[in-house]
């Protein structure tokens, strides 16, 4: 493989507006229930009574905008019984519509929830890194939609050189599972994977 494209996400400036998610949905004509990019709200904490007032205790919250991470060790690819999933020369993980039988094995094994079933077409779908836009020299839709410029993309080694190599932030899984092509600038209240005191705050169907 010559190249491995990846995403960089700056959680410290994300405001959770979901413009990336909506731009992705719009550009890729995704039906309801299918989100190739999802903005996850993670938080926790409690309140204690002190006299007449309630005082927050370790209350925190932050957002992560997550799509397919085009993992170097992609379990979706390894577990696809029909060989419909492959990596292209840019390291982009792609699903071949003509080969996919919609068995959903890939969605079961992906710890990021990236592959999603399109009921209309009966096939699995996922982020294709807007390779069509990239071929025209344009940015992926999510990158351009972010009003905070919190999402970047590029050669993953260059992103790591520029932004560090953090990827294990709650509620994301351990790196070793898939080796994701993702770099995160953690939110100032971020909690490390496995050491989180909070939980995902989103509702069913929201992510």
């Amino acid at each position: 493989m010559s190249r491995q494209l990846g995403f960089y996400f700056n959680a410290d400036i994300c405001i959770g507006c979901k413009a990336c998610q909506i731009a992705c949905k719009d550009k890729n004509h995704l039906p309801m229930g299918v989100l190739w990019r999802r903005v996850v709200n993670y938080g926790g904490g409690s309140w204690v009574q002190s006299g007449d007032i309630m005082i927050p205790q370790n209350v925190f919250g932050y957002f992560l905008s997550i799509s397919c991470n085009h993992c170097e060790d992609a379990p979706c690819l390894h577990n696809c019984p029909t060989g419909a999933i492959s990596k292209n020369e840019d390291g982009i993980v792609l699903i071949d519509d003509d080969v996919c039988i919609g068995c959903r094995y890939c969605s079961w094994v992906c710890p990021y929830g990236a592959p999603q079933f399109n009921e209309d077409d009966g096939v699995m779908t996922k982020c294709n890194f807007c390779y069509d836009l990239q071929a025209e020299g344009k940015n992926p839709a999510c990158v351009d939609a972010c009003p905070l410029r919190a999402i970047e993309f590029g050669e993953i080694e260059e992103l790591r050189a520029k932004h560090g190599d953090v990827v294990e932030i709650e509620p994301l899984p351990k790196r070793e599972i898939t080796s994701p092509a993702l770099v995160i600038h953690p939110h100032r209240h971020a909690q490390a994977t496995g050491q989180g005191t909070g939980h995902i705050l989103d509702m069913e169907g929201e992510i």
Partner: protein, 515 residues
């Protein structure tokens, strides 16, 4: 609020000069909210943050936004007819000595007033006034969805003889109207120049023909005038081309020295001929081609240019020579004129000096009861702009219009995220799914404004989660709308609620689209 937060704010305000202090309008949208504005200004004045570069105290926004614009679009040039009943526009509470002022219907209580057939207060000259409204014409906006006590609003719509609504889409106004006029969007109309804010003007262009039978508002009014036996050409005689030209030719930009205005656009005799309109050539700063291409003109600014505006600078520099418009000529921390003006309306009573005040017996922290122990506040939703775009399924999926509740209040009620809850106030009920947020202050519940009302006619419960179903018809002070402070209860609801995005969008479906 924790005392340390207040101390920290006080320390910052005392030590950082100059400071600009902004609050946002919602800080005053509760009973006797004028008191907050008065306190806010007092703190700003006492800390010297007024009349100097970098200093500003405003609860509503940057002071320069309320000064003269730097550029404005021209008008259509149509004849604006004089209202035979009210020759001048009237503004509620504009002039306390004018009898006419009392003719205004107060916004928060309007629906209830129409239902009751009377409005006002006993203390008004002549007491409460009878009112007999027979027709509601929604010319624009989304008032039935956007005003408090919406259940009374629906009742008012059913009470009157006739309701018509001009709408871009099938919104709540349309749903309760007898007659709906589908209105075209700006993308479907002849382009024109318009004022966006005080520093720039935009020139939009038509990109598509109107969908189906929709028309521009003015074209609807034109057709109505014809059918009512009026001569629409007396008012709307200009063609769309001429209207658009007038907005262009009439666009004025401030001179660089700030001494007055001059035309923005250079227009030649050939331009006028090409556009097929009547007009005179004029000299301006930019050509028609440049403006059309860019679609925007923004007044160039430089540091220390002549267009800088510092509010109250003259008064601060020389208070004797430049008094402000109060009885003493000074900023009045203690202002009996203000209190008298507000109190005469009989909605509530405020002190002449800003202080914390429990204004209403049925609203706010101190009015909580066992039946209604929680306080409602209504932030804006990222799903929509006020009520616009609430009909877009992808946005409905992203932002579920949830009932935001604190961890403490949810635990006390045995609620967890995704549970269906009934939210009740003395004025109405809505059902939603609850989202438990650690960041929510215990005792407060948030429901975002603008969801399109969807009443279940069997139960009378609103399924959309529109907070105006819960809001009190509560006029306060000078006509403040008390959006914050309505009391409510939230409890588990024994019933299902299909997610908004899984329900059909409320839109007109034509036969040819139904395949």
């Amino acid at each position: 609020m924790h005392p340390d937060v207040i101390r920290n704010f006080a320390n910052q305000l005392a030590s950082i000069k100059p400071t600009s202090i902004y609050a946002g309008q919602s800080t005053t949208k509760f009973p006797a909210g004028e008191q907050f504005a008065q306190v806010f200004f007092t703190v700003g004045w006492m800390t010297g943050n007024v009349g100097k570069p970098g200093a500003n105290v405003s609860w509503i926004g940057p002071e320069p936004n309320f000064t003269a614009p730097l550029v404005t679009a021209g008008k259509y040039g149509d004849t604006v007819p004089v209202n035979p009943v009210y020759p001048d526009m009237i503004v509620f509470c504009a002039d306390i000595n004018t009898q006419r002022d009392w003719d205004c219907l107060e916004y928060s209580e309007a629906w209830q007033s129409i239902v009751d057939g009377e409005y006002g207060r006993d203390v008004w000259p002549g007491g409460k006034r009878p009112i007999d409204i027979r027709m509601i014409y929604h010319g624009h906006g989304h008032f039935l969805n956007s005003m408090p006590n919406a259940k009374a609003g629906i009742e008012a719509h059913r009470k009157v003889d006739f309701v018509m609504a001009s709408c871009l889409n099938y919104n709540t106004n349309a749903h309760y109207a007898d007659l709906v006029f589908p209105i075209s969007t700006l993308w479907e109309r002849h382009g024109q120049v318009f004022t966006d804010n005080r520093e720039h003007v935009l020139w939009w262009q038509q990109v598509m023909e109107p969908l189906f039978e929709s028309r521009a508002d003015i074209d609807v009014a034109y057709g109505l005038a014809e059918r009512l036996g009026l001569d629409p050409d007396e008012i709307y005689g200009n063609s769309w081309e001429q209207k658009a030209y007038n907005t262009l030719a009439g666009t004025q930009v401030i001179k660089r020295d700030g001494s007055g205005y001059e035309p923005l656009v250079t227009i030649t005799a050939q331009d006028i001929k090409d556009m097929g309109v009547e007009g005179e050539p004029q000299k301006g700063r930019i050509t028609i081609e440049e403006f059309r291409e860019k679609g925007i003109y923004k007044v160039p600014r430089e540091a220390d240019d002549a267009l800088m505006h510092i509010a109250h600078a003259a008064f601060i520099a020389d208070p004797e020579a430049n008094p402000v418009a109060t009885s003493t000529g000074k900023f009045e921390i203690y202002c009996p004129t203000l209190a008298a003006m507000v109190n005469q309306y009989g909605f509530s009573t405020i002190y002449p000096i800003g202080k914390y005040q429990e204004a209403e017996p049925d609203q706010g922290y101190h009015a909580r009861t066992e039946e209604y122990p929680l306080i409602l506040f209504t932030p804006h939703s990222l799903r929509r702009a006020h009520t616009n775009l609430d009909n877009v399924p992808a946005l409905r999926e992203a932002f579920p219009q949830e009932c935001f509740m604190s961890v403490v209040d949810a635990e006390a009620r045995g609620l967890k995220t995704d549970d269906v809850v009934l939210m009740s106030s003395p004025h109405g009920k809505v059902i939603r799914r609850v989202k438990v947020l650690p960041g929510m202050v215990p005792g407060a519940v948030a429901l975002e404004d603008g969801a399109w009302i969807d009443i279940d006619n069997e139960t009378g419960i609103d399924r959309s989660g529109n907070p105006n179903i819960l809001q009190a018809p509560r006029a306060s002070g000078q006509g403040v709308q008390c959006w914050t402070g309505t009391l409510l209860q939230v409890e588990k609801y024994d019933g299902d609620l299909v997610a908004d995005y899984k329900r059909p969008a409320r839109e007109i479906r034509f036969a040819k689209d139904s395949d």
